[in-house]
Amino acid sequence: MWKKMKTWLDVRIGLNDFVRTKIVDYRIPKNINIFYTLGFLAVIAYAVQAFTGIVLLIYYIPHPDHAFKSVQDIMAKVPYGWLFRQMHVVGSNLMITVAILHMITVFLMGNYKRPRELTWLGGGISLLLTIIFGFSGYLLPWTQLSYWATTVVTSMPTAFPVIGDSIALILRGGDQVTEVTLSRFFALHVAILPPIFLTFMGIHLLLINRIGISATPFGMVDEEKRPLTEYKRKTHPDGYPYYPVFFQKQMYMMMAYFAVMFFIVTFLPNLFFPEEANLPADPFKTPPHIRPAWYLLAPYQLLKLIPNKFFGITIQMILLTIFLAWPFLDTYQEKNVLKRPILRGVFIFLLVMWVVLLFWGRNP
């Protein structure tokens, strides 16, 4: 029966050919390491968010009078509602963590270098979209934390002269965060961002497929030093087969991901729920020590430290542009970061600064 089904599919869609060329005969570099699975892990994390998000949509009501209560009902009354909400909340934080780790490892292994500039750009934009996903979802429970964090972030564009106020007005749909803002953010979170994100993710994956997997720069001659005069897909004829060698690594990391997720859900259920996240939004009382999600704490703290709002935001926009355009700015051929002390020093400095600002921002 099973064989008949396989034959039926094979004669119609070339199943055997697909399995052979894309899975069994597909070769990966011999010195590939576990960090290469982070991209796959990010895709799994997105899939978890999509599934749990759709499940939550069944009970969530996007209106200020009902949003908080509907989320409380999901947590307390709907059977296993707490599980799917916790998976969604914990998953959103893990997803951003995985995406950041993916970008860091790609950077350290120099895999953003030509001809992979556009792959980096697509990944960088996907990371930004992921953060916007997190930010737009933050308002939906309509808690004190979500309301005031959204007030602060939607006020940021006002730092820009001439167009700043208009941007803030369009984001919020008014002078303040209201039911109009909630509707907008809900539409953004569930309908506008997903197709945009999938497009960039699709471009990112297509480019990886077209260009081929890059070998790590550690311990082998870098073949990509050839002059870039024509398109050539990078293949690894002497490498390991994708299945089962790399597939097993991916499955191992996927299980590690779920283990971390369920450990947090089970033993640290309040990790991402400070006190203000359990209070309904009060538009007339700003809670003390309001702070955004951890992944926005460093820019938030930087804004606190720089007295001029316009300067504070402009400096962050410049850093963001440099981050996205880095493959076009870094034209040095050496991929191995261990042989580039200045770049390594700057990277470590920025990473330490980011961590310091993050922990500093946690304090009142």
């Binding site: 007005l169 007339f284 700003t286």
Partner: protein, 137 residues
């Protein structure tokens, strides 16, 4: 002019009109809706409600505001919306100032910035005293 070039110009012209019309409509579509809650355009508060040195939080024209009874200079009404990132300032009686909980912006009782990142003073709301009443609007 060659026929092909003429068609290209027409195509670009029609495309521009379509794009401009669409973007214009789309931006207007995104523009703010009128507030759904009824606006309070006139507010009357009895002076006895705010003893000297105290303050009272109010909602005026759908926005949070505060009336402060300054012991030396009488009543003043200020918007509570911080000019930095829109958090609501709180009156601190002990320090005789208004403090924003988000980024520690400090304002004096005239609404002027004392310290912190706010770029502008708090917006003052005109009020008048009529006998025992404070009237806004």
């Amino acid at each position: 002019m060659k026929r092909r070039r003429f068609l290209k110009i027409i195509l670009a012209f029609l495309g521009s009109i379509t794009l401009f019309s669409f973007v214009n409509s789309f931006l207007k579509f995104l523009a703010a809706l009128p507030a759904r809650t009824a606006e309070i355009n006139k507010l009357i508060i009895h002076k006895n409600e705010i003893p000297s040195g105290e303050a009272k939080n109010i909602i005026y024209r759908n926005a949070p505001a505060v009336i402060i009874n300054r012991s030396d200079r009488g009543f003043i009404a200020l918007s509570r919306v911080c000019t930095h990132f829109g958090c609501l300032v709180e009156y601190n009686r002990a320090e005789r100032r208004l403090i924003c909980p988000c980024h520690a912006g400090n304002f004096d009782l005239e609404g002027n910035v004392l310290s912190g990142p706010p770029p502008k003073p708090l917006r003052a709301i005109p009020l008048r005293i009529d006998g025992e009443n404070i009237i806004l609007g």
